[in-house]
Subunit: 294 residues, 2 copies
DNA sequence: CGTTTTCTGTGCATTCTTGCACAGGACCGG
DNA sequence: CCGGTCCTGTGCAAGAATGCACAGAAAACG
């Protein structure tokens, strides 16, 4: 049963009883309608209509088609209005992905968004691998740094998260607290185990301290943070995370050059929808309230 | 939501995830598939798929379409197999029409046919007006005489119903019983009120008796028969109907020239179907058993 | 790391569908 | 009885959808 258009044509003929009437409704020439019916009947091997000078009377098969196509037309009409409307409504799924490090910063935003738009089911994905927006894996991605992006992705700056140098009280009791970045001699540091990282504060750290001062290195951000908390040395932790842990002591005040940009990335097709726009404005509003950001 | 073929194309793309795969299944070029999707999305004003190098991933709208079109395809497949099969099966409606005069002759045939083919719903229409087969009003018509027929109707002889001259005992007690058609003087007759009727026995009657002997005339066959039963005169009644009424007495034995042919008429498109053929053979078998016919 | 495969996407020629004009038949109303 | 109207049906030309060839890009594979 290929060629659904011919079924649609036959449906209108069965509904209206005449070829001409169906042609008017369908917006085609009546010759086209005749040819569609002929083609469909030839393929089915059965007559759908009794032809006579006053019109086409559906046979039993034609009435069967009428009933089936009637519901089909209704289903398609509903589908059409759903799809046309869904770009304008804030409902359905909203899939947001981000790096794991800022999950606890974002979660309150997600929850309040869902509270504001109860029709929306929020999915918040944090995973090792980067989710790809052009594969339809997420509507919105929140990413750190200034990495390259796909051509079809629209990128917006969200905030600049401040990071500072921290150490535990236990570390300071043992090694003392440096007064400035000129006073780092004899101190040990925690740094990412990657020569050419893009994180600005780690680039600054590698340029400032001696390599043998890096006492602890790891690839995983969470592992680095944990190392500082365990007293392995002085290390960078984002200010908002450090503020949650009273055991951490700020070594130096945050600097603008240490700030790391946070970007909102959306796929160009989804960016225009009201659902995504609603979330974006909600997210930006929330970001304005964030302390430790600029 | 016109152009159902584009929905079908989009359905296959959503189902398979690639344009190329959908093109193979649909038996068209992949460029055609791309153009269908583009056209459909443009008309809906919403993206159905996220495009990427490995294929098309359906969006929320695309998944919605997938679900709707899935059931549509199934419905159409069922419809197709029903229509293709129904020409070969004996089921559904069977509409038979005839003149009212032979309804009680046909009814047992219809009932036994329905008993033999329980899938069939029989509708037996007897009405004043002649039902038109080319308007799809009936599958089979049983008609008397040798009237003209539509070009698309296939006509078969069914039987020749015998009619005889009858009167009531009361009439005979009063007027006597004529020994032959040469002994009709002084008798009164019941005849159709129509100069040029096609019924052979009435033509014979008008040619045989004097006009003033026709004591009772009517247009309706049932009214004529009732007039004979009421003793209005001698009149023609079909033998099978007269045999049911013991009050009627046969005046003259049936003659071949009084016989009226009974024709089966079907529309050429429906004539080929097994359902109609089954009824026709059943009807012919039953007609062989009919007494008062030849 | 280069190669192969498998996708999508687009300009161009072709085929096929569609529209048009007209014929023919049936029905309706005067 | 006869013109007007509303149907269906068909040959022919215009237009639109399709197929083809090729480009380009990304993933898979050895």
């Amino acid at each position: 049963m290929d060629n659904w258009d011919e079924i649609r044509t036959a449906f209108q003929v069965a509904r209206l009883g005449t070829v001409s009437g169906a042609a008017d409704v369908l917006g085609v020439h009546h010759a086209t309608v005749i040819r569609h019916i002929d083609s469909l009947e030839r393929r089915l091997g059965a007559k759908l209509f009794q032809r006579h000078a006053r019109g086409y009377t559906p046979t039993e098969a034609g009435r069967d088609l009428l009933a089936v196509a009637q519901t089909t037309e209704e289903q398609f009409a509903h589908l059409s209005s759903r799809i046309k409307g869904q770009g304008e409504t804030v409902s359905g799924e909203l899939v947001v992905t981000s790096i794991a490090g800022i999950a606890d910063l974002l979660t309150p935003v997600m929850v309040s968004f869902q509270r504001n738009w109860p029709e929306v089911r929020v999915r918040f994905l944090t995973d090792m691998r980067v989710f790809r927006l052009d594969y339809g894996e997420a509507h919105v991605a929140i990413r750190a740094g200034t990495g390259p992006e796909e051509p079809d992705n629209v990128v917006q700056p969200l905030a600049r998260i401040q990071s500072g140098l921290y150490a535990t009280k236990a570390y300071l009791d043992r090694f003392g607290k440096p007064a400035s970045d000129a006073d780092f001699a004899g101190h040990r540091f925690v740094c990412v185990d990657h020569e050419n990282t893009r994180a600005p504060f780690y680039r600054w750290l590698r340029a400032t301290v001696q390599p043998d001062q890096i006492a602890y290195a790891a690839t995983e951000p969470a592992a680095l943070e944990e190392a500082v908390r365990q007293g392995a040395g002085i290390g960078f932790i984002s200010c908002f995370r450090a503020s949650l842990d009273p055991a951490l002591v700020e070594i130096l005040p945050p600097r603008a050059e240490w700030e790391s940009p946070l970007r909102i990335v959306t796929h160009v097709d989804l960016h225009r929808t009201r659902k995504v726009q609603a979330f974006l404005s909600h997210l930006k509003d929330a970001a304005k309230e964030w302390a430790f950001c600029s």
